[in-house]
Symmetry: C2
Subunit: 290 residues, 2 copies
Amino acid sequence: MIIDKLYESVKDKGLVCVGLDTSYDYVPGWIMNSSSNLEDAILEYNYRIIDATYDAAACFKVQIAYYEAMGTAGISAYKKTLDYLKSKNCIVIADIKRGDIAKTAEMYAKAHFTGDFECDFITLNPYMGKDSIEPYMGYVKNKEKGLFVLAKTSNKGSKDFQYLKTDDGDKVYKKVIDMLKNLGMDCMGKYGYSSVGAVVGCTELEEAENIINELQNVFLLIPGYGAQGGGALNVAPLIRNNNGGIVNSSRAVLLNYRKYEDGEKRFDYYAREEVLRMRDEFNNMKFIRP
Amino acid sequence: MIIDKLYESVKDKGLVCVGLDTSYDYVPGWIMNSSSNLEDAILEYNYRIIDATYDAAACFKVQIAYYEAMGTAGISAYKKTLDYLKSKNCIVIADIKRGDIAKTAEMYAKAHFTGDFECDFITLNPYMGKDSIEPYMGYVKNKEKGLFVLAKTSNKGSKDFQYLKTDDGDKVYKKVIDMLKNLGMDCMGKYGYSSVGAVVGCTELEEAENIINELQNVFLLIPGYGAQGGGALNVAPLIRNNNGGIVNSSRAVLLNYRKYEDGEKRFDYYAREEVLRMRDEFNNMKFIRP
């Protein structure tokens, strides 16, 4: 089960997931100038960030939107970034947030669990229901693949639909978590977590505390730390004994260099510094998830 | 407003939206054999389908999942298919069902409303809330672009979350439609519809009848006809005076040729036959949407 590999990686390397949301304007001028085109510049930047952080991060999350925005050249850079991560034996989460059904969902599964864009985990959107998740389960059960499905996200708008109270008193996101627990029963790993994880943001401390008792076997991908306002205090309720989740940071890692006068030249060094700082911060947390 | 262009296209050409969900195994053997690679075969197939149907279809919906499944070559075929549709002055809906927030959503907007993958409309998933739709609104208001946001889809699993009853008695999808009507007020076209449309499936007749009074200015992208089991009787409640919506058909159009002995050779002719048959069927409907 891929979730066991992720659990072990967290155990070895800590809770940090580095988000490669690489916007072209994050790339220092000297790399832009020494590259023959945008794709090469993005790749040079990504490779150096990966080299500087992969021994200190549990995994990497690549946000495909940033690459789609650069058209076919961006998609090529996306593929090559995944290839590089795989060559370094990194665990790769493709943050694609796809959501569709039937044959279309099978196509997304094929797209991101095989071939050019193959990765270990994908993120999915549950709005279309259980039959928008099931087409991926064959890969999860038999091909060492995993899912992180959006449940309670970290943005302001998460309240618009995810927090709606249903007529039996549960919120919508709670119903999503119930579905994920159900699907996860068929793909439990040896450390007590299934390969069907959930995206649960750390920006609403009170909400987090309301659901920690419900999370049991659910491994969490936790957004919202750093740029979005969540701190370690908000992360703590979602983590169990230094494991059971990963905390994503993208901009705070990628742009840490901008705080320093010599930052541009040493952007990869400063990315690493931020990963180490986060990791230490998390190591000193008190965990309350039962 | 792009929605006016779509309204006029429906008025001229009828209610059919041709779905280019082109799976490689739909392509007749003789095209496969005469093409030098899969990308060329897909393109030859798509170009012929487009040539045969564009005068009889209001618009085309290209399902990106099928192209993503073929890796970087598929993405190139996707781009070239969009280019061809634009060269024929067709209205193009990119069925991408993306859903993300903030800068990531801006990246998706840039990806699909400019550059290599530019189209007229995109489909979006609302699960993350209003701030997962707002980043596209600048393009909608100022750049002649439009949205179709998932509200009530046509699959079985649509009941899992979309149909959940909230504590004020409304279903979740009704809350989504309320949001879309609200966003649409800033981008109303001259025919009474806004450029923020909704995806509302035609598989649940009773549900459709419950919401027709709520749809007012909302233009509909209607899936579920044909292969998914919806018939013209199910479409009728969602259409107002032969307009106000488009009915997608993918497989029933693309694979109509398989019903005929000479189908492979004349797959494009039979695709057109199915489009004409649907169009006539819709023209004879009795509309009940007020």
